[in-house]
Structures are given as structure tokens and as C-alpha cells.
Point group: C6
Chain length 200, copies 6
């Protein structure tokens, strides 16, 4: 399916994550959009409670650290945020989309482009740490099938990569991180998307 391939970075607020299910690894897209409002946060995509909590955590982290991220704290009161994870028929859960969600939200609020051919997986904490997650081997294989070239992981997942046969890793570049701020530096370009919406 073309829907299981990486799909470009023309739109702000869309980040590629990696999922691990009973039938193997897969990529998934974290899609976010903003509309004028009073700060309502809407979540769709058949998300379980842990994944919904990750999304809440991602947004609250951005709110609490807006200054460090160059965001005006007031934008969160003036815009509604919608976060969706296709495909709606598939239940999804777990904390591993945390860093993808936070990056997607950061891109939406800054309108900065997301780096091309990049995927990521990792749990976030409220302090901004990136925690290791499971299913790394299956996720890496799925990323390759989807034409991903770079992957961001927690430094604590390095040992999982080291255990994978090098042949499978060919053509992939790994970034190991400790803090969420590193993810944003790696994932968001300085340039904005074409026709950015004006956030204020």
C-alpha cells in the first residue's frame, strides 16, 4: 500500500512514527492540525488510553516549555489542536509514539518543516527525557520497507540496534538522543513550510 510508505514533508505537523504490532512493525503518521479556537485538544485514530496520555503529555510539555521552544505561550489558548493517527480501523496504543507526537505538535505550532525521510520512536517524560521502547528490530525493518533513511531513538535503545545484523541496517542512519530538545533540533528544519499559516 502506498499508505504504508513515507509520504513527504510538505505539510507542517506531520511526523512519521514506528509501530510494533502482533503482525510486525509498521510506520504510522502522526498528523496534527490547528484551527482557531480556545485551546481544545481533539484526539482521533482509535487510540488507547496510554497513547492518549502520550499526546496529552506532548502538548503539556510544549506548553510548559514554550519559551525554550520559541513559542508564544498564548498560542495554546487561541488555537484548537487536532491530532490524528490513521488508519481509523486499527486500534493503537502504547507510549512509543510520544516523541513523534511532540515533534508533530512542535512543527504545527512553529510551521517549521520536518526533515525528509525521517522516522522516530520513543517515550517522552514530562522532564523531556526520551525513554527506550520495545519492538526495535521489527520497527527498523518496517522503516526500511517504507523508504525511511534516518531514525531517532533513545540512547537506551542503542543496544537493541547493536544486536541487529548490520546487513539489515544498510542505508539507515541512527540518531540516539537523551532529551526531547535534541529530537526537535534533529527533526525540525529552520525553514517553514510553503504558505505557512500565521500562528499567534
Amino acid at each position: 500500500h502506498s499508505k504504508d510508505k513515507y509520504q513527504g514533508n510538505d505539510v507542517a505537523g506531520v511526523v512519521t512514527g514506528l509501530a510494533w504490532t502482533s503482525v510486525g512493525g509498521d510506520i504510522l503518521f502522526i498528523e496534527t492540525s490547528l484551527s482557531k479556537g480556545k485551546g481544545k485538544f481533539t484526539l482521533t485514530g482509535n487510540l488507547g488510553n496510554v497513547m492518549k496520555e502520550s499526546a496529552t503529555l506532548a502538548l503539556e510539555y510544549l506548553k510548559a516549555h514554550s519559551e525554550a521552544l520559541g513559542l508564544d505561550a498564548e498560542v495554546f489558548e487561541n488555537w484548537n489542536v487536532h491530532l490524528h493517527v490513521p488508519e481509523g480501523a486499527t486500534p493503537k496504543d502504547g507510549p512509543s509514539a510520544g516523541i513523534s507526537m511532540m515533534t508533530a505538535l512542535a512543527s504545527a505550532f512553529t510551521q517549521r518543516k520536518v526533515k525528509r525521510n525521517l522516522a522516530m520512536t520513543g517515550e517522552i517524560t514530562l522532564r523531556g527525557r526520551v525513554l527506550p521502547v520495545g519492538g526495535i528490530k521489527e520497527k527498523i525493518l518496517a522503516a526500511k520497507r517504507a523508504d525511511i533513511k534516518e531514525i531517532i531513538l533513545s540512547i537506551d535503545n542503542k543496544k537493541d540496534i547493536d544486536e541487529i545484523d548490520a546487513a539489515y541496517l544498510k542505508g539507515l542512519k541512527f540518531h540516539y538522543v537523551t532529551e526531547m530538545i535534541e529530537v526537535i533540533d534533529l527533526a525540525l528544519l529552520k525553514t517553514k513550510v510553503d504558505n505557512p499559516i500565521k500562528i499567534s
Copy 2:
């Protein structure tokens, strides 16, 4: 039953979708209406959670892309929206009514007529992509029984149509799309319905 036949396009906000159940394919109507209010969104028709999420997604997409669709962003705060899917005794679920729902809402807010004898099925994403759905063969047969002449599908469902014996497809025209904006261009006429309500 006449209720299982296509029923014309005189009313804004009504779009014909295609459903797939354990007893075969069927057409269904997405009905929307607006009333003065503060933006409340009401869903009826015995809808499951995934289908409710599709409706939320459809409305949020319109809000986030109102400018591109020629809608004044303020209309969403000044009108309540009701989306109903008859028949109330039948539970309904799944993401495949997504494009019908978004088209119905776009028709309601623009008061533009929906093209005659048209049906559609496809999942939407927050970026506006149209994803493939299941049960295509059964849905096509149901569309024919209901006197549908044109059908909109995701480009990723073309392979499902190609597998159907040509005899069954006689009299049907298919439109394969990638983006939601193509659906709106195909489905909504430039002319408004008779006695349009004034939306502002």
C-alpha cells in the same frame, strides 16, 4: 425498499456513501443540517466510535482548511452541525464513510449541490489524503442496484476494481482520487441548491 435507492440531490448536505456489512453491500445516506448556535456537533444514527471519529475528523479538517475551501472560518462558531446516518436501528462503524461525511459537511456549509447519481467510499486523514477501504466488490454491486452512476474511490482501491468482472461494472464510471480536495471538486457542483440558507 425505496429507502435503499439513491434519492436525488435537491437538499444540501446529503451525500450517498457505500457500506459493507456481513450481509453484503448497501448504500447509506450521510445527512447533515445546520442550525443557529455555537458550534455544537451532534452525531446520530447508531454510530460506532471509529465512525464518530471519522465525523470529527471531517469537521476538523474543514475547520483547519476553511480558507482553501472558500469558507469563512467563523461559520463554525455560529452554527450547530448535526450529522445523521439513517437507519437508526442498524449499528454502523468503520472509517469508510469519511469522504462522504466530509463532502456532506462541505455541501452544508457552502450550500452547493451534490452531483447527481454519485456515491463514494474512502477513509480520510487529517492531511486530506483519501485512504483505501475494504468490501469494494460488495459496495459496487449495491451501488448499481441503487441506480448510482459514478463512484469516487481512493487510487489505492483501483486494484480492487480491476479484479471485478467487467460485466458488473457496466454503466458505472469510477473516479480515483488521492486527496480530499479532488473529492470536493468532483462531488460539489458550482450551483447552490434552491432556496439556500444563508451561512455566515
Copy 3:
């Protein structure tokens, strides 16, 4: 029981419906009342989700078509509406009370009298169509027992009446309808009830 007999039309907002349960047909009363407020809608009578959705649909239809029905759109913001279906100990569900509910609400808001000795059964849609429902034979027998003289049904239920032995139908007049507006024309008299409350 006298409670299972038709009980007159002195009060605005009360309409006789027809129910079909595992123990046969029965009449039921849709009771509505208005009190000064901000548009809250209260439902009682041990109603299941589908029946509650019918009530929502009925009220939303009136709101969206208030002009065509001669109602000032603002009344819905200035009055609370209560809809009750006796008898509270009996669980009730299904969409077939839709037209009774919409008619009862229309009577309450216009204070127009409901035609005497009239009952009805049919599902409504947001477009205003009247859809056929089940259990017609049992419902007709119950209507006769309760001294009902006229019955409103969907045109798609005519075939169910045609299958009933004519002897059972003696003394009953049937009205077959397609649109909700026909129901209101048939069921609501031009005259108001005695001592109508002033709705504005």
C-alpha cells in the same frame, strides 16, 4: 388499563405512538413540555440509545427547519424541553417513535392541537423523510384496541397493511406519507389548545 387507551388531545405536545414488543403491539404516549430556560433537552421514560437519538433528531430537525414550520428560531434557546414516554418501568427502544416525537415537539412549540384519535409510527431522517418500521400488524391491532381511528405510516409500510386481512382494518383510516412535513400537516390542527402558553 385505561392507561392503554387513547386519552384525548386537550394538551399540546402529546402524541400517540405505536410500539411493538415481544408481547405484542401497544400504544404509547409521547409527552413533551416546555419550561423557561436555555434550551436544555431532557429525556425520560427508560429510553434506549436509539430512541434517544430519535428524539435528538426530532428536535434538531425542528431547529434546522424552524422557518418552514413557522417557528421563531430563537424559541429553542429560550425554553427547556422535556420529552417523556410513560411508563417508566418499561425499557423502550428503536427508531419507530421518531415521527411521534417530532410531531409532539412541533405541537409543544406551536401550541397547536393534535388531531383526535390519531396514532402514528415511523422513523425520521434528518432530511425529513419518513422511513418504514416493523411490527405493523401488531401495532395496528393495538391501535384498534385503544380506540384509534386514523394512523399515519410511511408509504413504504403500505405493503404491510395490504397483507393484513381487511376485517382487522375496519374502522381505521390510513395516511401514507413520504415526508415529515406531511405528517405535521395531517396531525396538527390549525387551532391552538385552550389556554396556550405563549412561546417566544
Copy 4:
């Protein structure tokens, strides 16, 4: 237990009802109180959904018919209402406390005394009809044990009383009613309780 005896009518808003459980009949007290507020309605006493609906129905009926009952419609917006049914450890349900609840609320809002040694049982409708209820024989025996002298019932429960051996009915006076307004006329005295609170 003294708690199972009739306990006087010194307080406004307290009415004696009759319950029927798996272990026989019992009296119960409907207690209501008002406190300054914005119209919140609080229900306690381990009440099931049908019984909660009865309470809602009772209050809504008073709101919709405030004028006929000599109540200023605005009082409902200026006072919070609490309705409690001791004893909290016992689950209670069913519609038969409807008339007791409506009478208790009418007493609270008018501060009129409730007639002494009176109990009642009956379902209410939104039109103000009083419907028959079950367990009449058991309820009557319980009323006698609790020193009740007069009982209000639906006219449709007269047949149940007629079936009881006259010996059991000695010392009891029955009032059979059709409409809720008759209950209020029978149950509420013209005099107010001592030290009435000023409701406005």
C-alpha cells in the same frame, strides 16, 4: 424500628411513600431541601435510573406548570434542590415514588405543610396523570404497620384495593386520583410550616 414509622409533618418537603421489595412492603420518606443556588438538582439515597427519572420528571413538571401551582417560575433558577430517600444502604428503584416526589418538591417550594398520617404511591406522567403501580397489597399492609391513616392511589389501582379482604383495610381511608393536581390538593395543607423559609 422507629425509622419505619410515620414521622410527622413538621418539616416542609417531606412526604411518605410506599415501597414494595422482595421482602414485602415498606414505607419510605421522600425528603427534599432547598439551598440558595442556581437550580442544581441533587439526588441521593441509592436510587436506580428509573427512580432518578421519576425525580427529574417531578421537578420538570413543577417547572412547566409553576403558574398553575402558584409558584414563581424564577424560584427554580435561584435555589438548588436536594432530594434524598433514606436509607442509603438500600438500593431503590421503580416509578412508584413519582407522586411522593412531586408532592415533596411542591411542599418544599411552597413551604405548605403536608397532611398528617398520609402516604401515597403512584407513577406520574409529564401531562400530570397518575398511573397505577404494583405491590398494592404489600404496600397497604406496610402503611398500616407504620400508623398511616390515609392513602392516595391512582384510580386504576382501585381494583387492587377491592381485592383485599376488608379486615385489612380497617382504619385506612383511600383517595383515588386521576391527575397530579388532585394529589397536591389532597396532600398539601393551606397553612405553611412553622418558620417557613422565604422562597423567591
Copy 5:
């Protein structure tokens, strides 16, 4: 455990209750505190629905009878109330903490000291009656172990005390009450706690 001993009366809003569980009687503490706010009522301590209803009842009773208790009715709108029952890991339910809860709340709002070495158990009603509760023997033994000297009970629980061997009751003084107002007179001292907060 010291946590199972009576712990003094230095703090306003803390009252000792008596609980009865499958493993015997126990004392429990009803703790309440006030913070500036708009009248929110927060309940913690793993409380079941009946016990939560008791707490609601206690607070509503105080609101409805604020004048008789010497409380300014407005304090309830200006302060948030929190009621907690340690220990959080133990589920608790039942109506018997009703009088402890009402006394604790009355102490918090008046800042009056609670009498030393006092415990109580009894259900409350909205009229202010104190109803008898179960498990009296086990509760009394637990009170003795915890160094309680005086106990308040419903007059209808006197028969339960009379059945206990006098040896077990040595050193305990019992107060039998009918009305909640007697409990407050017995339990709350005229003096305020040290450093009372100013409630208005």
C-alpha cells in the same frame, strides 16, 4: 499501628468515625479541609457510592440549614471543600459515617474544636434525623482499643449496646441522639482551634 489510635483534636474538621468490615471493627478519620474557591466538593479515600452520597448529604444539609448552625450561607460559594478518609488503599462504603462527615464539615466551617476522645457512627437524613447502623459491637470494641472515651449513636442503636456484656463497655460513655443538631451540640466545643482560618 498508631494510625489506628485516636489522634487528638488540634485540627478543625477532623472527626473520628467507626467502621465495620469483614475483619472486624475499626476507627477511621474523617478529614476535611477548606481552600479558597467556588464551592467545589472533592472526595477522596476510595469511597463507594453510598459513602459518597453520605458526604453529599452532609454538605447539602449544612447548606440548607446554615442559618440554624450559625453559618453564613455565602461561605459555601467562597470555599472549596475536600473530604478525605484515610487509608487510600482500603475501599470504604456504607452510610454509617454520615454523622462523622457532617460533624467534620461543621467543624471546618466554624473552626470549632471537636471534643476530645470522641467517636461516632450513624446515618443521616436530609431532615437531620440520625438513623441506626450495623456492626455496633465490633465498632465499640474497636473504639476501646483506640482509646475512645465517648461515643455518639442513634437512639435506635441503644438496644444493640444493651445487648453487649457490661464488662466490654467499661470506661465508655454513650450519647444516644435523635437529631443531627444534638450531635453537633455534643461534638463541637464552643472554643475555636488555635490559629483558626477566617471563613467568610
Copy 6:
């Protein structure tokens, strides 16, 4: 895992707690952050109801005793609080994180540093007492593995420490407390974190 090690005290609002699960003891981090708002309290981390109640209790205690803690009572209305407990995939429950939660919140609102290499476990009450908790031996072993040097416990847990072989306790210093105020004095340094946010 490095995530199972003590992780420094550079950030305000983060405290190390001790958990006890079916697979042994573990450390956990209580993370809190503040963002401008109206006092909303958000809890994440897959927390059970008892643990959520502990968090509510912790925040309410701070609100009710803000003066004693040197906090301006108004800060609670001007900031939203988020409390998170990594790791999201692990369900967590019980009251034993109570003192960690209250300390973390106190640090967030005062921006005072938390003492280095410190962990704690204990239930809190609304009066500010610290109650003993279970699993002490397993928690102590986990604390040692994580390089913790000091531990705060309820005085009622001292007997549990006394039963542990001294060899296991080497390098650990214990603080036994009765009141929550002692915990805050022990755990929060007088110095603020670097770049404290200005809370008012």
C-alpha cells in the same frame, strides 16, 4: 536501564519515589510541571484510581496550607499543573507515592531544588500525617540499586527497616517522619533551581 537510576535534581518538580510491584521493588519518578492557565490539574502515567486520589490529595493539601508553606494562595488559580509518572506502559496504583507527589508539587510551586540522591515512600492524609506503606524491604533494595543515599519513611515503617539485615542497609540513611511538613523540610533545599520560572 539508565531510566531505573536516580537522575539528578536539576529540574524543579521532580521527586524520586519507591514502588513495589509483583516483580519486586522499583524507583519511579514523580514529574510535575506548570503552565499558565486556570488551575487545571492533569494526571498521566497510567495511574489507578487510588494513586489519582493521592495526587488530588497532595494538591488540595498544598492549597489548604499554602500560607504555612510560603505559597501565595492565588498561584493555584493562575497555573495549570501536570503530574506524570513514567513509564506510560506500566499501570501504577496505590497510595504510597503520596509524599513524593506532594513534595514534587511543592518543589514546582516554590522552584526549590530537591535534595540529591533522596527517595521517599509514604501515604499522606489531609491533616498532613504520613502513614506507613507496604513492600518496604523490596523498595529499599531497589533504592540501593538506583544509587539512592537517603530515604524518607513514616515513623510507623521503622519497624520494617529494623527487620532488615543491616548488611542491606549499608550506605543508606533513613529519615522517619510523622508529619508532611517534616518531609518538605528534609527534601526541599533553600536554594532554587537554575533559571527558575517565576510563579505568581
